[in-house]
């Protein structure tokens, strides 16, 4: 594996963050399956190394924009389980007081400008955040997360053109999980995705999205360069989603095989790979890792119980926050 963060504490935090995402999603899936969660949600499981590798290279004043498959970005950028589960259940103490739900969690205190339920819908917002940074002489960087499906949206080409013209500190992070909703990406994407960014004179990189250290190493370099005004950049992160497009997408053999899913889970899982590396390098023992996993599991269980017992917002809040004062 590639090397990026260089001390034990950093490595262990990256591992813990990946496990936190997986654990959050396993609990969210259970809430859906047991009909405790209104609506539906989109699981990030399998893509953890992307969110963690990138967000570990950012500070709280750096911004991200997220997607409908956004729980991983939210956790990786520093959000708390309790407020996230409350939001998933539509409770008052949720990040958005229950008004956003799974697809709209925003956590401004950690620089998360929010998930977006329009595919590609936040590409303008991310680029605008970078424009503001440049205008105000701030050195913060904005990372725009989106999936391979969103590369079919025209907005991306409009904003990449402006980002390149004005050298904006934005990094476009395309999580290529091979599927555009229920369709193979190769059926909807002509030519090369990186070449599209390169056509605007934007440096483009492809990286193994299942290798958290490789993702982190590349992101650290690009963030440093973007802070110096050398942006924008484009990263294509090759990854895989373990679940369907959303939690209700159970029977999906018509678009991808169980063998393919099995291969990614058994041979390329980002958490299993990083755990083996931590042990092999003598950074942590199996016992220490098991203890971390158990602690995270307990945190999640407690947060779910807290959220289930939490209050719904008062109905008087329905027309609150339509307009700001």
């Amino acid at each position: 594996m590639a090397k990026a963060k260089t001390n034990t504490e950093d490595y262990l935090r990256m591992y813990a963050q990946m496990v936190r995402i997986r654990t959050f999603e396993d609990n969210a899936n259970q809430l859906y399956l047991s009909a405790k969660m209104p609506g539906l949600t989109h699981m990030y499981s399998g893509e953890e190394a992307v969110a963690v590798g990138i967000c570990e290279a950012l500070t709280d004043s750096d911004r991200i924009t997220s997607t409908h498959r956004g729980h991983g970005h939210c956790v990786a950028k520093g959000a708390e389980f309790g407020e996230m589960f409350c939001e998933l259940l539509g409770k008052e103490e949720g990040y958005c007081r229950g008004k956003g739900g799974s697809m709209h969690i925003a956590d401004q205190s950690h620089g998360n400008l929010g998930a977006n339920a329009i595919v590609g819908g936040s590409m303008g917002i991310a680029t605008g955040s970078a424009l503001r940074a440049k205008l105000q002489g701030s050195d913060d960087v904005t990372v725009c997360f989106f999936g391979d499906g969103a590369t079919a949206q025209g907005l991306w080409y409009e904003v990449m053109n402006m980002a390149a013209l004005w050298k904006l500190p934005v990094i476009y992070a395309c999580e290529n999980n091979g599927y555009s909703e229920y369709t193979k990406t190769e059926e909807i994407a002509a030519g090369s995705i990186t070449a599209r960014a390169e056509a605007f004179g934007i440096e483009a990189f492809t990286v193994d999205g299942q290798d958290v250290l490789a993702v982190n190493e590349l992101t650290q370099k690009l963030v440093t360069r973007a802070r110096k005004g050398e942006g924008p950049f484009f990263m294509e992160l090759m990854t895989y989603r373990y679940h369907g497009h959303h939690v209700g997408d159970i029977n999906r053999e018509y678009y991808r095989s169980k063998d393919e899913e099995k291969d990614w889970k058994e041979n390329r899982d980002p958490i299993v790979r990083f755990r083996s590396w931590l042990v092999a390098e003598g950074i942590a023992t199996e016992a220490e890792i098991e203890a971390m996993n158990a602690e995270i599991e307990t945190d999640a269980t407690e947060a779910v119980a807290y959220a289930e017992a939490a209050h719904y917002p008062d109905v008087s809040e329905v027309d609150m926050h339509v307009y700001a004062d």
Binding site: R63, T65, G94, Y95, C96, R97, G98, K99, G100, H104, A106, Q108, L113, G114, N116, I118, G121, S122, M123, G124, I125, A126, T127, G128, S129, A130, L131, R132, A133, L135, Q136, T142, G154, L155, E158, V159, N161, M162, L165, M320, H321, V322, Y323, A324, D325
Partner: protein, 331 residues
């Protein structure tokens, strides 16, 4: 008092606010050296530089999206959308993104941006450069909508819009850019949601927006010669709407015509007329009439185009009938 054009009033409002607050910046197509096709923004790039007066590519969804993101992170962008007809191009950024961020985030995120655009037919520009699309955005909770009817309103409303913490869409009538009106030298702001009674009357209320205010005022003069005293009210902002002033007037006059240059069906006139019917029904002596643009795409040929929009003569005819009790059983 000095008189300046609506175009100069807009220019002054932006310059004053950019001097006052360095987070305010301007972006859009040909806003810098060209100063827009209507020359509304001429001179601003000389004072504020290309960093704050930014020429964009012809990418309306793209640059409106950038404005949303800049506004969410601490800037106050003013976006120039060259023609109101291009609103269709930016609907996702305006209605799904800008309008909903504050609500979806439970009040954490704000989008203090202004989208300046225009409206108005009879410029012989045909179906894609002549529309008045204020009803489309007024329908979306989270957006505010201002419709200045003169240079005075244009300046005062725009300054308020720039300081507002919400996305505001301002529609300027492109035929009025060269029209002059008295505008004070000293600073003033016009609060949102405060209608202006332009002319007092006792027989009928003419509620008119933007370009239609001058139509209503002319109609009121013609009606006065016939002994009918019309009250003319300009709501100035349709979101928020100063319902109280409109209701007070209608309760006094017991008759009303609502005039707006957008298409009549499902439009601004329909909304206002409906509120008057719901809240002043027992004070009315006649049905509230709507006068909007005809429900046709705006035609090019002048003889066709001119009959698509309300005229003072048309308003007079309707007012006369309402006051004579001729339209009570019109349906």
């Amino acid at each position: 008092m000095r008189e300046i054009t609506l175009s100069q009033a807009v220019n002054e409002a932006i310059a004053e606010e950019m001097r006052r607050d360095d987070t305010v910046f301007l972006m859009g197509e040909d806003v810098a050296e060209a100063g827009t096709p209507f020359k509304v923004l001429s001179g601003l790039v000389e004072e504020f530089g290309t960093e704050r007066v930014i020429d964009t590519p012809i990418s309306e969804p793209g640059f409106v999206g950038l404005a949303v993101g800049a506004a969410m992170t601490g800037a106050r962008p003013i976006v120039d959308l060259m023609f109101g007809d291009f609103i269709y191009l930016v609907m996702d950024q305006l209605c799904n993104q800008a309008a909903k961020q504050h609500y979806m985030s439970g009040g954490k995120l704000t989008v203090p941006m202004v989208l300046r655009t225009n409206m108005g037919a009879t410029r012989r520009s045909a179906a894609q450069h002549s529309q008045s699309l204020q009803a489309l955005v007024a329908h979306i909770p989270g957006l505010k909508v201002a419709m200045p009817s003169s240079a005075y309103e244009a300046k005062g409303l725009l300054k308020t819009a720039i300081r507002d913490n919400n996305p505001v869409v301002i529609f300027e009538d492109k035929l009025m850019y060269q029209d002059k009106a008295p505008v004070p030298e000293e600073e003033y702001l016009i609060p949102f949601g405060e209608a202006h009674v332009k002319r007092e009357g006792s027989d009928i209320t003419l509620i008119a927006t933007s370009s239609m205010v001058q139509v209503a005022e002319k109609a009121a003069e013609m009606l006065a010669a016939e002994g009918i005293n019309a009250e003319v009210i300009d709501p100035r902002t349709i979101v928020p709407l100063d319902e109280a002033t409109l209701l007070e007037s209608v309760k006094k006059t017991s008759r009303a015509i609502v005039i707006d240059e957008g298409h009549q069906s499902y439009g601004v006139t329909a909304e206002i007329a409906s509120r008057l019917n719901e809240k002043a029904f027992y004070h009315l002596d006649a049905p509230v009439l709507r006068m909007g643009a005809m429900d046709v795409p705006v035609p090019f040929s002048p003889v066709l185009e001119d009959i698509t929009v309300p005229t003072p003569e048309g308003v007079v005819e309707n007012a006369r009938k309402l006051c004579a009790g001729e339209m009570i059983h019109a349906a």
